[in-house]
């Protein structure tokens, strides 16, 4: 039997994906050397939508450019050799019984989808990450699978303690291994976990109708690579099903909907060549253009994409509402609109965030901001000496800042609520916020005031106040505020007001 090179490559990249997923975390060093962002940086769709929406290039996406260019030579090899989502679908292929292909997915639907997304990006509405295959898989892993996996692991371990007490210590080395290399350190649950699960399950469920249904009929990355693949000088021979055999119709996972070989759909897995009984199939280099036209998706697709892109851009357009003052962005993010044009919504910053400060926005950032990271100080805070989110961001939407600069990057500003804060509202001492404030000169300070408390007893109250110029809005004060209800100190985003 011939070695299945594409499958070996697929398994390698899938393992790499999981490996990078797990390593995208704090590992005792301030710097992360390799992270999951490699997959997004090599993502041609991320590249193209970034170019269109941010209207500039970043060196971070150089690997994406390489994939882009090599796809023009090799075709959609990415889909058949590298894409982790595609590999998962291939691995599940044998276990799923298929009914008939869905007719409405056929035709030019995928082109309409891709062009809508790309024109949307051109009008500053970069939503491609939502349907990017790596995005779908990473979000499913980050928000749904991994927290649940960690929860089960931890609860099991705690359960053992209830059962065995301190003699559980004998099992400790095994658990330590799991904990260091596999389980998440934090037990954080995320909003949108269910939606992320549905996205992923939806892609898997599509397999019920056809092999690689998502990849051949919907995936915007695959569609884009397919368009590039049309330039490929490698030609499959024979260019149609053989009259005497036709096995390729079932062997091929993506292409043979019709008699004729569809170059834009071929994922170059080379299964047909490997399995052909008579050894007829080959992929040949020929610079001569054959009968196949250099396909353009058609004027209609183009125009419809333009119109619906415009529609999408305006229908989802961000509104500058008052609630945005609580829409805190990761450190270093300046302009909200610029951030939104660059953010892939891959979820890596949230995966890596040490203190569970970042969560995916559901609707608070508008439909447009779905899955973008937002800091929720009541649930976690930005660790002063940590700059990991900027290091794993694949597009630099969260800029990679040197630590000293990151410490000064303003996320927002803390504001004391005197109606809540203990020394003001209840004349009791507290000062937990001041104690935790990480700024060396303290952005939270206090004044000592002697007053009679509500029982008439003289007390010296230490009342906190915020030094605006020093506060970077890391949110630790709001996080640790011991009030059970609303916090007595809260972080708000500074927004430029137009009157």
């Amino acid at each position: 039997m011939k070695i299945n090179l594409s499958r070996i490559s697929q398994l390698f990249f899938l393992a790499l994906f999981f490996f990078l997923f797990v390593t995208t975390d704090y590992r005792g060093k301030d710097e992360i050397s390799v992270a999951l962002n490699s997959f997004f940086r090599a993502d041609a769709l991320v590249l193209v939508s970034y170019l269109l929406s941010a209207k500039t290039f970043t060196i971070l996406l150089l690997p994406g450019l390489l994939v882009f260019l090599s796809s023009m030579v090799l075709g959609r090899f990415f889909c058949g050799w590298m894409c982790p989502l595609g590999t998962i679908l291939d691995l599940l292929a044998k276990r799923i019984h298929r009914s008939r292909p869905l007719a409405f997915l056929k035709g030019r639907l995928k082109y309409y989808l891709l062009f809508t997304l790309l024109f949307g990006a051109l009008f500053n509405m970069n939503l491609t990450g939502l349907l990017d295959p790596m995005g779908i898989l990473t979000r499913f892993m980050t928000f749904s699978f991994y927290p649940l996996f960690g929860y089960l692991g931890k609860e099991g371990w705690v359960g053992l303690y209830r059962l065995l007490g301190d003699s559980r210590d004998y099992l400790e080395p095994g658990y330590d291994f799991l904990k260091s290399y596999l389980l998440p350190f934090r037990d954080t649950f995320y909003p949108l976990a269910f939606v992320s699960l549905l996205f992923f399950l939806g892609v898997v469920a599509l397999e019920r109708f056809e092999r690689r249904n998502w990849c051949r009929n919907l995936c915007p990355l695959g569609t884009l690579l397919g368009l590039l693949g049309r330039f490929s000088p490698f030609r499959r021979l024979p260019a149609r099903l053989c009259a005497d055999c036709g096995d390729c119709r079932t062997t091929c996972p993506t292409t043979f909907d019709e008699e004729v070989f569809q170059k834009a759909d071929c994922i170059r897995c080379l299964d047909c060549q490997r399995k052909c009984a008579s050894g007829r199939v080959s992929f040949r280099l020929s610079l001569k253009r054959g009968k196949e036209a250099l396909f353009s998706p058609g004027r209609r697709v183009f125009v419809t994409g333009l119109v619906s892109g415009l529609f999408v851009a305006h229908a989802f357009a961000p509104k500058t509402a008052a609630r945005e003052t609580r829409l805190l962005r990761p450190p270093g993010v300046g302009d909200e609109c610029e951030f939104l044009t660059k953010c892939v919504r891959c979820g890596e910053c949230m995966k890596v965030c040490l203190r569970s400060a970042l969560y995916p926005a559901s609707l608070q950032a508008g439909l447009y901001g779905l899955y973008t990271p937002t800091l929720v100080p009541r649930l976690g805070y930005c660790e002063y000496n940590c700059s990991l989110c900027g290091q794993v961001c694949p597009t630099g939407a969260i800029p990679r800042l040197p630590l000293e600069q990151k410490k000064k990057a303003v996320i927002g500003r803390a504001v004391v609520d005197k109606n809540q804060c203990l020394p003001y509202a209840r004349k009791m001492n507290c000062m937990v916020c001041e104690e935790h404030c990480p700024i060396p000169d303290k952005a939270i300070r206090f004044e000592s005031v002697e007053e009679a408390d509500y029982n008439g007893k003289k007390v010296v109250l230490k009342r906190p106040y915020v030094v605006d110029d020093l506060c970077n809005g890391c949110g630790i004060c709001e996080y640790v505020c011991p009030l059970e209800e609303k916090a007595g100190i809260e972080v708000f985003k500074k927004t430029k007001r137009k009157l």
């Binding site: 000496n385 000062m431 206090f446």
Partner: protein
């Protein structure tokens, strides 16, 4: 009352008085040992040796908990955490005395991974046998009936409660609410739950906990102290290098002595005062024997 009765009653009274106050009479003067020098490991060792050596506290086969301050994501030179060399010296002494196991942990305010890592303590203890530096597990906290004046009950760490010997190894530093944070406050690291809550009446809360969890030995790291912007610090401007380590079996006496390093008096620190009033130790330095090692 005739003379005979008078004598009888007098003798009885004297005897009773003697009996009732015997504990006071028998009580030794608390000793505080102070050592100074540039080699922090050696300094810590000589401070402990001046008390009579670690063998006074740790017996062969004991399980020992050494509780340093690893509460913040800061580096040793920033003086917010106990110096790794001081911790290492204590741990090595315990092992020499035959400790079966030495456990080192803290419940940090910042991210536990970063706080442990940057304190330098896990790295300093790496490779020592029978020593574990682990993160604290939520399930190991036990609700303890403190019957205190402020805290009736609280979650305390079972490994600290069950240890044969509890060695308290704080760093001496400034604290905005309590003036200073020393041995009595370092015990907060074995408390679970919403620790911010106890700030409302922190002196009483800490006395409540220290009455139940006794520090058999207190080793205060004053090799460098944080003089302002504590307990987090972060700026080297606030750090003063003293090259000193203080050791005592009396937690209040140790704290009281360390207070002097900041130019303060023991009675300036409400935590010390409350603990003294509640009989946890001696804060009057006139009644304390200070040994320079």
């Amino acid at each position: 009352m005739n003379r005979r009765d008078f004598i009888k009653v007098s003798v009885l009274l004297v005897l009773m008085n003697r009996l009732l106050t015997r504990d006071l009479w028998a009580k030794e003067t608390p000793v505080v040992a102070v050592a100074e020098g540039p080699d922090y490991g050696a300094v810590a060792r000589s401070a402990v040796n001046a008390l009579g050596g670690i063998g006074r506290f740790v017996k062969a086969g004991n399980t020992v908990v050494v509780k340093p301050n690893m509460g913040w994501d800061r580096r040793p030179e920033q003086a917010a955490t106990t110096h790794p060399l001081v911790v290492k010296a204590i741990v090595e002494e315990c092992l020499k005395a035959g400790a079966k196991r030495v456990k080192v942990f803290d419940n940090p305010c910042n991210d536990a991974r970063r706080s442990y890592e940057n304190s330098g303590i896990p790295a300093a203890l790496k490779g020592l046998r029978n020593v574990e530096v682990k993160f604290m597990d939520e399930e190991r906290y036990k609700k303890v009936n403190l019957k205190g004046t402020f805290l009736k009950e609280w979650d305390l760490y079972s490994e600290a409660l069950s240890a044969d010997v509890f060695i308290n190894a704080p760093i001496a530093k400034h604290h905005s609410l309590t003036g200073l944070t020393l041995g009595l406050k370092n015990v907060m690291g074995i408390m679970g739950g919403d620790r911010g809550f106890i700030h409302r009446q922190i002196e009483d809360a800490l006395s409540d906990v220290n009455s139940v969890v006794k520090s058999h030995l207190v080793v205060i790291d004053a090799t460098r102290i944080l003089t302002a912007h504590g307990p987090t610090g972060g700026s080297l401007r606030d750090v003063k290098v003293l090259n000193k380590v203080i050791a005592s079996a009396d937690i209040v006496a140790a704290d009281a002595y360390a207070t002097g390093l900041f130019g303060l008096k023991p009675q300036d620190i409400p935590i010390t005062v409350t603990a003294h009033k509640r009989g946890l130790g001696e804060m009057n330095l006139d009644k304390v024997k200070v040994v320079k090692a």
